[in-house]
Assembly symmetry: D2
Homo-oligomer: 352 residues x 4
Amino acid sequence: MIVVMKVGTPQEEINRISAELSSWGLSPEKIVGKHKVVIGLVGETQELDPFRIEELSPWIEAVLRVEKPFKRASLEYRHNEYSEVVVSTPSGDVVFGQHHPLVVTAGPCSVENEEMIINTALKVKAAGAQFLRGGAYKPRTSPYSFQGHGESALELLAAAKKASGLGVITEVMDSPDIDKVAEVADVLQVGARNMQNFALLKRIGRQPKPVLLKRGMAATIDDWLMAAEYILAAGNPNVILCERGIRTFDSKYTRNTLDLACIPVLKKLTHLPVMIDPSHGTGWSEYVPAMVMAAIVAGADAIMVEVHPNPQKALSDGPQSLNFDQFDQLMQDIKPFVKLMGRERPEPALAR
Amino acid sequence: MIVVMKVGTPQEEINRISAELSSWGLSPEKIVGKHKVVIGLVGETQELDPFRIEELSPWIEAVLRVEKPFKRASLEYRHNEYSEVVVSTPSGDVVFGQHHPLVVTAGPCSVENEEMIINTALKVKAAGAQFLRGGAYKPRTSPYSFQGHGESALELLAAAKKASGLGVITEVMDSPDIDKVAEVADVLQVGARNMQNFALLKRIGRQPKPVLLKRGMAATIDDWLMAAEYILAAGNPNVILCERGIRTFDSKYTRNTLDLACIPVLKKLTHLPVMIDPSHGTGWSEYVPAMVMAAIVAGADAIMVEVHPNPQKALSDGPQSLNFDQFDQLMQDIKPFVKLMGRERPEPALAR
Amino acid sequence: MIVVMKVGTPQEEINRISAELSSWGLSPEKIVGKHKVVIGLVGETQELDPFRIEELSPWIEAVLRVEKPFKRASLEYRHNEYSEVVVSTPSGDVVFGQHHPLVVTAGPCSVENEEMIINTALKVKAAGAQFLRGGAYKPRTSPYSFQGHGESALELLAAAKKASGLGVITEVMDSPDIDKVAEVADVLQVGARNMQNFALLKRIGRQPKPVLLKRGMAATIDDWLMAAEYILAAGNPNVILCERGIRTFDSKYTRNTLDLACIPVLKKLTHLPVMIDPSHGTGWSEYVPAMVMAAIVAGADAIMVEVHPNPQKALSDGPQSLNFDQFDQLMQDIKPFVKLMGRERPEPALAR
Amino acid sequence: MIVVMKVGTPQEEINRISAELSSWGLSPEKIVGKHKVVIGLVGETQELDPFRIEELSPWIEAVLRVEKPFKRASLEYRHNEYSEVVVSTPSGDVVFGQHHPLVVTAGPCSVENEEMIINTALKVKAAGAQFLRGGAYKPRTSPYSFQGHGESALELLAAAKKASGLGVITEVMDSPDIDKVAEVADVLQVGARNMQNFALLKRIGRQPKPVLLKRGMAATIDDWLMAAEYILAAGNPNVILCERGIRTFDSKYTRNTLDLACIPVLKKLTHLPVMIDPSHGTGWSEYVPAMVMAAIVAGADAIMVEVHPNPQKALSDGPQSLNFDQFDQLMQDIKPFVKLMGRERPEPALAR
């Protein structure tokens, strides 16, 4: 349920109403939008009478029920205003959101050694990326496959961050690792296989770093938004959703089926920013450029692309990684499309 | 197996080689590309020795095996040259293919009455479409749902064609109906539910009108190309493939999952043109524009969009139909993207 | 909507009510159950007032709406009484239905030659089957695969039927073939790929032979029952449903995923008999026996098993076919389970 | 790779060979079967020459490669001998395995209060179950749904165990909880949503209690066995696999699609015991009995059934729970089938 306040409501009045609602046993959350303030209420609201709330103050414009199973993640909860997820990076704040420039994340599947990760960071930065991706902890189907270099890889990511000025996105696979990953990462990633690892979601929701939540392989849109709701409900409002392909009956030519229609669907349902990962989504580098283009014009707020200095020799996911030249070309090719979408990034000098 | 002829091979030499191969019990097909002529061989070629063919003539450049299960549909079979499917319409020939302008097909799910179909035809023509779609025979899940007006609807399509100058695409559901549908339609559609109705595929492959082959709801890419192969093998080389969404585990917010990655995949595997139908692909008109945009920049050769004068009152598929204003807006919105892709259509005056 | 008549209602009264309902523009169907007669009404019944019907006669016990989208196929339509599909065979009538012995259908994927089909018929008859299956027209993914021997195979099936006394089940792929197939077959099969070939369903519903309707690869239970409804609505009440595996994300070890839970689900929803085909359902003969057992104890009314004299040399579906010894063993092994389920067949001497 | 020792090989010889292989940098594991001893080798064996191993001792019968991606989980690794997972319970050891009596696990979705769990334990024990299931930590799609009573529920499970003598199976959702769950549980369950939570799998593989590994909603058979391999590779050989339905395109009448064919498939691929959970598999109590029957005759080693004193009032999963009478009836109904399968449990007096 949300309480929409009239424009110009004094701060004390909002505080007074919130205090009153708290005294009823509710947990009001103040949501400050561009134009209006909304008080969000989640919990035992089913038997609450909206009229009883409306009577609390003449400054209340409307009291509305959120009908969706996901409450805080719903677009209604923010009274149809999209979230801005602001991420602090060495080169300044980067904002993920509907009315902001396209955010580009690039890098290898896994951090292999210092040279490769620093080299990759510098190259993708030069090509126009804002974030470096790279796995320290890798979820691999087989226990005998390369599992990531773990903590030592975190140090290499820190070095690459320092060298390039890029923000860092990397995956957390286990709740005891959150703190050490959060020391280096600017955005913590929850992988597809952990999308319904609710213990991890709760704990990651209690720390302050923004979270990239990948869609599970067989997760419905509702499942996915409910997983985001776990993080939001635990107190962290900064969630970015990332589609990376779902599992269907055909995996001969693409590893997964990239569900690009999720973009307009999510834009209707939720205020959270949407990222698309065509590298996992298709599994083959040759299909990545067409899907990056498609994602951008379909309205994605961000893209994630796997880039490796030498895909043939990658320790994981080589076939789906672009090399530096291919990534550079892609970044050139998308420019006019990004511009048409009104998503181009101002020149660096202006961005600072 | 294909026999690639050198540039400049005299026609008589090609005829001589074909005659020789026929005398071996094979069925050579001459494929004339932009630069080269290729002789295609399908059938009992597994035990054929390529060297034995090479010895037939010094004009033979190479003899290559087609490794794919689909032979005539494979890009290799045409020596990596994409097909041009030329459709004759009242306003002149329209070409579907990789290096040709985007083809737009629009119209209602089903032909309801004369006024609506003529009105729709004129509107979508004015907005920039080349083809009118509209069902005379409708495959409906329930026997109690509107089944299409059948033959009388074909007459209305003929009237709309005459009034608008658009080409007509409509579905054939049963082999005995092929002839009467082909009298009106410029392109015969095989629907998703009939994609593996092999009897229909064989019969439609024996008539000369181009065929639009929709992907089945659970058809793999291979299944789909093998279905096209049935038509090609029966003698009709003019097949257009149409993706319209596949069935997955989530159908709450979209009727199907639109597999846009099929575009680059098909472009790698086959020479046949690719159309995308986001109306069936998503099932909701509000998601259609984003998916049309995405399809275009991902490399689609054609799009199909459901348009109805009054979607709320449509006899079928209302929720996924755009109204005239929405379609007109969409056609305006896609223009810069179509241009960037090098797919814009020259002004009508030049097109004649 | 159904009109349930009281026990003992005179025939003239039923006729009178039916005539009255016909005069209202409805199409009443008399359904004679074990204990009661029901008058079924399908069509524009939404605005019909049940009370107005009840007033027609004191012999009316109740007037009930059928809420399901499938009307004639629903269990309610027959007032919770299961159908008996009686098939006439050279050895007498065989009944498919809930309270009848298990029906066993066996035979090769395709009819290859006279010796193999007669030999197979005699062997599966000796092992205890009631029906011979065998394809004359084969739906094959590739146009270059063996397509069945067509009409000549129908003659061989007739010979095998004569030699063995078995009933014959074979597939019709195209509506123009219905008559010639019906001359030989005792049950006409509609294959999975044609489950939504509505033209075929309508035509097959207008002829009198019982129909085996296989579930489509991506057909929901509702889709499947609606396909059955097409046949029932066209006038043929004798439909048997056959589950043969659905398409899912995993096809490495089994060709399809056999949905055995469909048995209790269908028993709740429909009065039509249910057959299970574990040969297509799993795709590998080694998994067939366990799934036959499971199908029987889960309540299947019939099973279909592929049997071939020499599976290694089969022209189609060899890997999923049992040989004679394996089938014979299976028929022995299921006996105690069939008996426990109360589905054993009386000794032949008694059955005549 | 496995080294199969001849029957009667002296213990010292096995030790000597193992020591020798260890000195080569390998990690030999001794697997004692009914008749033979096998030495398993996992790791960098790709370049090992089997002949070099064979030369180590005349007592070596054969050196065989394991071709499957899962090594320790493969049936070959134990030289085609099925595992016995022995679980210690207050009423004595219960063995899960191919040649052992059917193991029955029953109980509520979640532990609600002391009375209900003790009452349920006593009832299901009386009906014939060996294990009590009951969730203390519950993975729920929504953060606002009942999440289980956590630690206090563990105490209640301990009380129910003491009162009934049943073994206890309960889920661990987060690695920091393993120890406290293991204090009460006799078998630790990894839920479907955590099947690829590799951090959890590794940690649970390092503790000694047997593990029940549920199949993920979109997990292929290979994914599932690779998840088991994580546990085995970490040192815990006692893994039971539990199928609980997979996600497909149809969830209208059943929550999931129960893949019973996985039973014969797993019996071919792995030595690990197989449990079937038709409660989650179908989602509706009315379909559970038919699927329990089917599972048993298809060769399941164990079944898991949700039972609740009052399903209408259950805090979670009520619709799929049997009440006491229904469970009691089911246990009666399965008896003759269990007996036919040679899986009946000797009378309790004999079992001690």
